[in-house]
Amino acid sequence: MNLLSASSRSSFPPRRALAAACAGVAAMACSSLAFADSGIGVDLWRGNKLDPTAGTRSETPDENGTTWLKPGQNRSPTGNLYLGPFTPPQPEQYGDWRGYGTLEVGVLMVPTGDQRNALWNRYADWKEGPILGLLDYTLERASDGTYANFRGSRISDDDEYYQATFGRAGAFKVQAFVRDMPNIVSGNAKPVWNGVGSNRLTLPSGLTPGGSTPAQIAAASAAAPERTLSVTREKQGLSYSMFLTPEWTAYANVTDEQRRGARPYGGSFFFPGLGGSMETVKPIDDSTINVNGGFRYAGAAWRMDFSYSGSFYRDANTRYTFESPFVMASPVPGALSAPVYQGQMSTEPDNDYHNLQATLTRKLPSLNGEVSLSAAAGRMQQDDTLIAPIDCRGVFGVGFGDLQLGPQNPLLGDCSQWNTPAALSRRSAKMRIDTSMVDARMVLNPTSQWTLRGNVKYDRQDYRTGDYLLYNPLTGQYGYIAENGSQPSIIPGEGFPVGRFTEVGNMRIRNIPLDIQTVDANLGADWKFDDKNTLGVTFGYNRYEPTHRERSEINDSSVKLTWINRSLDALTLRVNYTYLKQSGDRYDYDPYEEFVSASLPGYTPPAGGTPVITTSAMRKYDMSSFDQNKLDVMATLALRDDMTVSASARLDRKSYDARIGRQDYDTGSATLQWEWQPAATTNLSAFLGYDRSRLKMSNVNDALENGAGTDPSLGGPTYPYDAQWWLRDKQRNYYAGALFDHRIGRVRVDAGWNYTYSRGTDSYRYAGPDALAYPTTVPPGPGSGAFSPMVYRVNSFNLGVTIPIVERVSLRVFDYYERGRVDDWHYLGFDQSRYIGGMLYTDGGPQSYSNNVVGMLVNVKL
């Protein structure tokens, strides 16, 4: 967690709000294309794109079925078919030990296609050549239950994993692994800088920092070679668990993950035409060590768990710097812009996290239930050395007549007074958040018909940092320099630190502690009133008490009704309905006065009063009151013993009490799935899916060009109705797929098809030209429009045949074809130039692609 960013405050200049909001929503529409690098769930399952099943794909289904006791496949409690087991291994005996496993080696052939495409290479690195598909070998000693296992796969240097496990049943288990996972974040990047991947980006010859013409920038961008930007994760882990007694277990895990590479990132020198925006390249060079350990007790009446978990993030870079080619040019007559060109970006701060938790659970035999109590205390802290406010040389800001420092140029700053840590009120972050949690739960089954459930949870986050004051002891000024000094070098006084006796009231001067306390309580009951029907009701109450937010108290009240019906032997029907109402105390549209320059002792409001930061009609969506209705219907029908059809539908409607802000957010989905397992060695399935979302929001621009309005009311002079605009965002996703797996004699055939279609559209309307960033470009009166749809389609097919050659040896031949089609208006024209409208881009955006891979793998049962 980034504590520093958690305390930052979002404040789009109103003029840019519509464009920014549209771009943001549009970006969300294509979230699957975003350059995320989350690596979710990487510790839970070690596999790769070639074989996500981590070896089970090469196993042969056991034609003898699941159990000798009854025919057919088992079903889950909700009626879905379980897959059948695999054919048992044929182990070799080595004295007391027996061993068995699989070796799969072969070659990949990629005859044609777009092999450098970033979407194709997401978390995979398929290259033509030999691969180790799988080596999986197990040794077991039945006399004392000792076992050892090794499993590994190697597709390339950056796409591989190896895991070793050793243990004895009922005694101990130790496991170690290493894993490399690639992620190409851009396959068509054209950075103009030297030093990509390092923490210093410098402009090449032909470009002058702070002094390049548009033609020179365009030429440099065009001449830059297209290259790949990627981030590789290398992770190692060790875990150990052992039985101290039959009831007590001790366990410990440690993992270390390093990320290396580079990715496109921001870099702003104010508005295009006045300065310029650019997409820089951020170096990625960090590591995260996670540790976890504790003791568990599992007895007849009691269960206990006492654990510690810790996480330690370290970034090799505190910041990276980049040179801007743009010329600073103030539009204010007579104003001379300082030639700033050196930019910097801080990287994520080093972070330490500790958490202690204890859980006690007691069975209640007389009531056929149990109660449990958990308590936890944690601490997150960061104490990085802070970087200087700016990295410029000479002066920043604007001068009138000349760029000489002195009283004649009060809006001109001396870089030497700001480019050193001495310009900070303290040298390190000293950030700390303490967390505490108590959770009490109870489940009782007093009769076979009744289940009673309840829990109360108390959660708290305390910011222990104290104030961080944006104060420069060298100059006696408060606040920060915006956009690497470019904003105050173009617009006189904007983003320029203020003195104590100032009339500027909205300069941020202090961090915002976001302490929060949460109480969460639920009480519910399930009533099985006959063999076929179960009814349930759950009442929920959540109370959030944030500090320094628009509300100091938010209450959620909900009721959830459930019905499970099995009136028909083969049908399981589940229906849930939830109504939730969020409300709270008085909404304060501006709770930040103590954190801005208006709180300085010498602050003198301007003649017209202190400008407001937003309209009083604004309701932030997490603080807003809303009503929510959710309905879920799920049905599972066993058409035959070996066939299942399941369907689901979900509706979720949220209606917000907001004239400005998010007003409605509706989502819905439907799925239909069919599965048939006529024999243990035959499996067919197909699925269809659809989901949609619709978001409606509204905002209003301030009608005064200098941002000096003092009336927060909607419809007033600062925020007139004519400046209001509305946005509707619609997302539609369609999914379809089919799988086929069948053995014909000793030959196994598997095939699959997957299809994804995502379409996002954004339409808008506005009350008048003042709602727009560029009012003069449209005629007077209301208007409307829409952005081009964003479309993402992926089709993939696979077909494989496994042929036995001799006993224990088989050959698998497969073909995998994947085609992606992307329509994203954000990147229109990028094939012609990356320098567009005064903005210099690095990444060329997601590209359509098609690739075909043929593989031949020899599988040996060891």
Binding site: W68, P71, T112, R746, V747, L799, V801
Partner: protein, 228 residues
């Protein structure tokens, strides 16, 4: 997909289609049809059986199984296994070899229709009986032995009829003790491995030691015939 790849995969599919089906190497008793037969014809065929299995299938010699009142599907299954020659060496192998499917069905329904008479052997001691009953009802969790009543029913006459996979599970009530011990030993030693039910019992028997087998057999043989 390019043309060479398509041709290759097509050829492989054809090769798969031509491969011979893998014949089952055991009798699957998880789906068993109800046995229909001619009792009178079975009686006529059973004249040779009484030499060992006693009048009407109530064997007097403890080493031979009682057939009277046994489930017809179980009896038919056992005769098929003898006929297949997969049982341990026994006179039954030669006797079953010439039987037709019809003969087997007739014999099965004949013995199933006979009345099971009480054993004339003296009852075992009470300690052995208690141990045997405990094994039958609760199993032996420490050794991994499941309770027998889970499959053979609370009264040891077999599970409630209905599901097709229950039909071939035998009644054990009043069965001869020495025969039961021999049978469990054969299961344990892997000598009976020709059907899905054999595989179940192979695993179960491996959890029983000799005293447990004898206690269990003594308890079951002491049970009087169920009223019909």
């Amino acid at each position: 997909m390019n043309r060479p790849t398509s041709l290759l995969l097509g050829a492989l599919l054809l090769a798969g289609g031509c491969a011979s089906a893998h014949a089952a190497s055991y009798i699957d008793q998880r789906r068993v049809d109800a046995v229909q037969g001619d009792v009178a014809a079975g009686a006529a065929k059973a004249t040779v059986c009484v030499a060992c299995h006693g009048p009407n299938g109530n064997a007097i010699v403890p080493a031979f199984p009682r057939l009277a009142g046994q489930r017809a599907e179980y009896l038919a299954g056992e005769l098929h296994k003898f006929k297949r020659g997969t049982r341990p060496e026994s006179p039954m192998t030669a006797l079953a070899m010439p039987l037709t499917d019809e003969d087997i069905r007739n014999l099965a329904v004949y013995f199933a229709a006979q009345t099971h008479t009480p054993s004339t052997l003296p009852p075992p001691d009470s300690q052995t009986l208690a141990r045997g009953e405990a094994l039958y009802r609760q199993g032996d969790p420490a050794r991994g032995a499941p309770p027998c009543q889970g499959c053979h029913g609370a009264d040891a006459t077999g599970p409630e009829a209905g599901a097709e996979h229950y039909r071939a599970w035998p009644s054990l009530r009043g069965q001869n003790g020495d025969y039961l011990v021999q049978r469990l030993q054969n299961y344990r030693d892997g000598k009976l491995k020709d059907s899905s039910n054999d595989f179940v019992m192979h695993g179960v028997a491996q959890t029983l030691d000799e005293p447990s087998m004898r206690a269990l057999a003594s308890y079951l043989s002491s049970l009087p015939p169920a009223s019909r």
